[in-house]
Amino acid sequence: MSVSDQPVNMIAEIEAPSLSLSDLTWRRFKRHKMAIAGLVVLFLLIIYSFGGAFFVTEKYANFTDTKERLQAPNAKHPFGTDTIGRDLLARTIYGGQISIIIGITAAFVEVMIGIVIGAVAGYFGGKIDAVLMRFTEAMLNLPQLLLLIVMAKFFSSDIKNIELFGREFSGSVVVIIFIIGLTSWPYLARIVRAEFLSIKEREFILAARATGTPTWEIIFKHILPNSIAPIVVSATLGVAGAISLEAYVSFLGLGVRAPTATWGNMLENAYRYIESAYWMWFFPGMFIVLIVLSINFLGDGLRDALDPRSRTV
C-alpha cells in the first residue's frame, strides 16, 4: 500500500539523495494526502476534547436533570441530552478525553510489553527466547476479543474509583487500559524480536559488543533506535485499536463504568435509542469513527514514510 511498493529495484538504482532521515520521512509522509487529513482531524479532535474542558466543567458534564431528558439538539444543548438529561456536548468532550487517554496509554502499555519481550527474546535468544516466544504464541493462539473478555471479567470485581489531577475516574479506566495493553502486545513483540534478531548480527553491534558496551546500552541505545519504524507504526495503529476495543467491551457490559463517560460507553448507552434518539448515538459514534479513521490513515502514512517494506494492515 506504499508508494515504494512500486519498482523499488529501479529507483534503488538511482543514487541515494542527500536528505536527512526525518526530512525524508516528512516528505514521504506529505505525499500521503489521507494521512495529512488524518493528522489534521486527529489534532482537531484532541483540541475538541482537551480544549473543550476550558469551556464546560466536568460537573456540568455529569449534571443530571430528569426533566430535560432525551431532548433533541437545541440551542441550550447543541448535541441534545441523554436519558437522564445530561448535556451530550459536554459529555462528548469529557468522554473524548478518556477515550483518547485510553487509546494512548493502552498503546503505550502494549508497546512497552511488546518491546521488552521482543527485545529480550531477540537479543538473548536461546532458552529465554524459546520461553518468551512460547508465551507469545500462547497469547496469539486465542482470539483477542475472547481473551479480553476473560480478562475484563477477571479484573471486574471490586473496582475502586481513583483520583487523578483532581478528577475522579472509575477504576475501570485503568483496568481497560491494562487489559487492552495486555492482550495486544504479542504481534508487536514478534516484530521487535525479528528486528532484533537481524540487527544484532550487524557489524556495528558486533563492534559495540567487542568493545565491551554494556548489554542494556546495546539494546536501548544501539538496536532499539534502529528498529523504531515498525514500533511507531504499531503504536499508532494500537491507539485506534484500543479506542475501538473499548467500544466493543462497553457493548458487552465490561467497559468503563459510570460515571466516567467515554465515547464507547456513550455509544453503548445510545444503543437502545437507535431509532428514538438519533443524537445519542450520532455524536459519540461520529467521533469514534473519525478518530479511528484518522489514526488509521495516519498510521498508513507513517508506515509508508518510515517503514516502506512492511505491508500489514
Binding site: N62, F63, T64, T66, K67, R69, T83, I84, G85, R86, K153, S156, S157, D158, I159, K160, N161, E168, S170, G253, L254, R257, A258, P259, N269, Y271, R272, Y273, I274, E275, S276
Partner: protein, 551 residues
C-alpha cells in the same frame, strides 16, 4: 498433484469472477411472513435468556420456571390477583379444612383423581414423594433444596394423599412447595442406572409433562417448541404451538416485537414502551414482589454514619423519587415505600418519605454531620460523609445512581458510584455486596413471592469467614426485628401473620434499613393478536390454556 494445484488456482480465479458478477448481497427478498395463518395457531415468545435445564429441580432460572405452566405442573398456581388456584390438589390445606395440623408442622395434600401425565399415566402421591427424595439426594446437584430441607418427612399415605411434616412450623410453604413434580415412572429407572439425575435425558427433553402443552423440541441457543397436549385434564389449549426463541439482546428483542416476529417479550425497559405501544403491542405491568431499593450497610466495613437512624432517614428525604418515577420511568410505576409493596402482605398505611432536602439537612445537622472543611461534603470527627454506592451494571440503575448522586450532594452527602459486574457474587468469591465493601447497595429482590418471608435480616446470616454463605449482606442485626421474623415464620394463621408483617414493615421503614425507590414490576409486551391473556406475578402463564389468537 500439479493438476490439482491448477484447479485450485482456477477456483480462486473463477470465484473472483463469480463475485464480480454476483455483486454484494441485497435485501430484496421478502420472507412472506404469516403466510399460512389460521391453519396452525403458533405464537412466538421471546426470552432473553436460554433455559439452563428444564428439570424443575435443577434450575432457579426465572425464564425456565415460567415455562412450567406450559408443560409441567405446580400443585397450585397463582392468578392475576395473586390468589392461589389449585391445580393438582383439590384445595389448599388450611387449619379450617384440617389440611394443616394443630401444631402447624403437618400438611396434608389431597390430589385430584383426574390428573394424568401427558403419556396417560396417572399422577400420584408417589410422584410427590419421588420429587422430595430426588431434591434431597446428595448425589443430585439440584439448584435449591428449599423448602424441602425444612421437612422431616414426606409420605404417600394413599395414591391421592401426600402428608408433609416440617421440623418446625413453616409458614411460607404455599409459595415454595411443589413447584414442578417429577414423573417417577420415567425418572426412577434413570436414577437407578446413573446414581443421580444430573445428566438425565429428561433435563433437556422432558418427554413426559403435565401441562397444557407438551415439550416438543429444544435446539440449544436457538429455540424451544411446545405443542398442545391433547391429554390435558382441563381440556386442550386453544393455541396449537408455542415457539420460544432465545434472543439475548434487549434491543433486538424490541425490534423483533415491533416487526411482529415475536408475540411476547418480557423485561421491557421503560424507555422502550412508547415505541412498542406505537407499534400496536399491548403492555402488561405485573407485580411480582420486586421493589427496587437501597440497602444501607450497617456492618463493620460500612460507613459509621449509617449506623445513625437520622442519617439513614436523611438519605430517604434527600432523594426525589417522585420525579424519578415520572421522568425516568415515564410514570408507569410508583414510589416504593416498603419492602412488601404490591404483595398481599403490604401495609397500606406506610407512605414513602417525601422529597424534603430541608428535612434531610436538619437530620444530618442533628446527627452532628457538618461540612467543616468546606469541601462540599459533610464530615464528623475527621470522617467525610462519602458513601460507596454500588449496584449492578443494569442501565436504569446506573441512571438512578447518577441522579441520586447529584441530589445527595445537595445535602452534603458525597457518593462514589460503583457498578459491579460481580455484584451478586458470594462472600468467598469477594462479591462487593456480600463482603460489605459498599455502603449502599441498590437492587431488588424477592424471596418467595407472593409469600413475604425473608431471612435477609437475621443476625446469624451476616457473612463472615466462618459462615461465608450468610445472606444478611447489609449486616442489620436488630433483635426486635429478628424476633418479629421468628414469630412470622411459624404463624400458620394468615391474619396474624399479616399483622406481624405490618409491624415488620413499619420497623424497617422507621429505621430506614431499606429505602424503597420504585416498584419494579415485570413489564410484558404482547402482540395484540393474542386474546384472553392474563398474567400473574408468581406464575405468569397460569391461564395459558385459554390464550387464543384473534381472527
Amino acid at each position: 498433484m500439479k493438476h490439482l494445484k491448477s484447479v485450485f488456482f482456477m477456483l480462486v480465479i473463477a470465484a473472483l469472477l463469480l463475485a464480480a458478477c454476483g455483486g454484494g448481497e441485497e435485501a430484496t427478498q421478502a420472507p412472506g411472513a404469516g403466510g399460512e395463518e389460521g391453519s396452525n395457531k403458533t405464537v412466538t415468545f421471546i426470552f432473553t435468556q436460554e433455559f439452563d435445564n428444564l428439570n424443575p429441580l435443577y434450575t432457579n432460572q426465572w425464564f425456565t420456571a415460567i415455562t412450567y405452566q406450559l408443560w409441567s405442573c405446580y400443585a397450585w398456581t397463582y392468578d392475576d390477583q395473586n390468589a392461589p388456584v389449585p391445580n393438582l390438589v383439590t384445595e389448599l390445606p388450611t387449619t379450617e379444612n384440617g389440611g394443616i395440623s394443630e401444631d402447624g408442622r403437618t400438611l396434608t395434600f389431597t390430589l385430584r383423581d383426574d390428573i394424568v401425565w401427558s403419556d396417560g399415566e396417572p399422577i400420584t402421591a408417589d410422584d410427590f414423594v419421588f420429587t422430595y427424595e430426588m431434591t434431597m439426594d446428595p448425589n443430585n446437584t439440584v439448584a435449591s433444596q428449599s423448602p424441602y430441607d425444612e421437612m422431616e418427612s414426606v409420605v404417600a399415605s394413599d395414591p391421592h394423599t401426600v402428608v408433609v411434616t416440617f421440623k418446625e412450623p413453616f409458614a411460607p410453604w404455599a409459595a415454595t412447595l411443589w413447584k414442578g413434580i417429577l414423573p417417577k415412572h420415567v425418572l426412577q429407572p434413570v436414577f437407578e442406572a446413573d446414581g443421580n439425575l444430573n445428566s438425565a435425558e429428561y433435563n433437556r427433553a422432558p418427554a413426559v409433562g403435565c401441562g397444557p402443552f407438551n415439550f416438543a423440541e429444544w435446539e440449544a441457543g436457538s429455540f424451544a417448541r411446545f405443542v398442545a397436549n391433547d391429554n390435558y385434564w382441563l381440556g386442550r389449549p386453544k393455541l396449537d404451538e408455542i415457539f420460544i426463541r432465545f434472543v439475548p439482546d434487549d434491543a433486538s428483542q424490541i425490534a423483533a416485537l415491533q416487526s411482529g416476529e415475536g408475540d411476547l417479550g418480557t423485561f421491557i425497559a421503560y424507555s422502550d414502551i412508547p415505541a412498542l405501544e406505537e407499534a400496536g403491542v399491548q403492555m402488561f405491568t405485573v407485580f411480582s414482589g420486586y421493589n427496587e431499593g437501597l440497602y444501607l450497610n450497617l456492618g463493620e466495613k460500612g460507613h459509621p454514619a449509617l449506623k445513625d437512624q437520622g442519617v439513614r432517614q436523611a438519605i430517604a428525604y434527600a432523594i426525589d423519587r417522585e420525579s424519578l418515577v415520572t421522568d425516568l420511568l415515564l410514570g408507569r410505576t410508583g414510589v416504593a415505600a416498603t419492602y412488601w409493596d404490591n404483595t398481599p402482605f403490604v401495609d397500606p398505611s406506610v407512605a414513602p418519605y417525601p422529597y424534603d432536602p430541608a428535612k434531610a439537612n436538619e437530620l444530618l445537622d442533628a446527627a452532628g454531620w457538618a461540612d467543616s472543611n468546606g469541601d462540599g461534603t459533610r464530615d464528623k470527627d475527621g470522617v467525610e460523609l462519602v458513601l460507596k454506592y454500588g449496584t449492578t451494571t443494569r442501565e436504569i440503575r446506573k441512571e438512578i445512581q447518577a441522579v441520586f448522586q447529584q441530589q445527595l450532594l445537595e445535602v452534603g452527602i458525597g457518593t462514589e458510584l460503583i457498578n459491579a459486574e460481580n455484584f451478586f457474587d458470594g462472600y468467598a468469591e469477594g462479591g462487593p455486596a456480600a463482603t460489605g465493601s459498599l455502603d449502599i447497595y441498590e437492587y431488588s429482590t424477592t424471596a418467595n413471592f407472593p409469600d413475604p418471608h425473608t431471612s435477609e435480616w437475621f443476625c446469624d446470616q451476616i457473612p463472615s469467614d466462618e459462615s461465608p454463605d450468610g445472606g444478611n449482606w447489609q449486616a442489620v442485626c436488630d433483635t426486635a426485628l429478628e424476633a418479629l421474623f421468628t414469630t412470622e415464620s411459624s404463624q400458620v394463621d394468615a391474619a396474624a401473620r399479616e399483622a406481624t408483617f405490618h409491624e415488620i414493615s413499619k420497623l424497617v421503614f422507621d429505621q430506614a434499613y431499606w429505602i424503597g425507590i420504585y416498584w419494579d414490576p415485570d413489564i410484558w409486551a404482547i402482540n395484540s393478536r393474542l386474546t384472553n391473556v392474563k398474567l400473574s406475578g408468581a406464575t405468569p402463564f397460569y391461564n395459558i390454556m385459554e390464550w387464543d389468537l384473534a381472527e
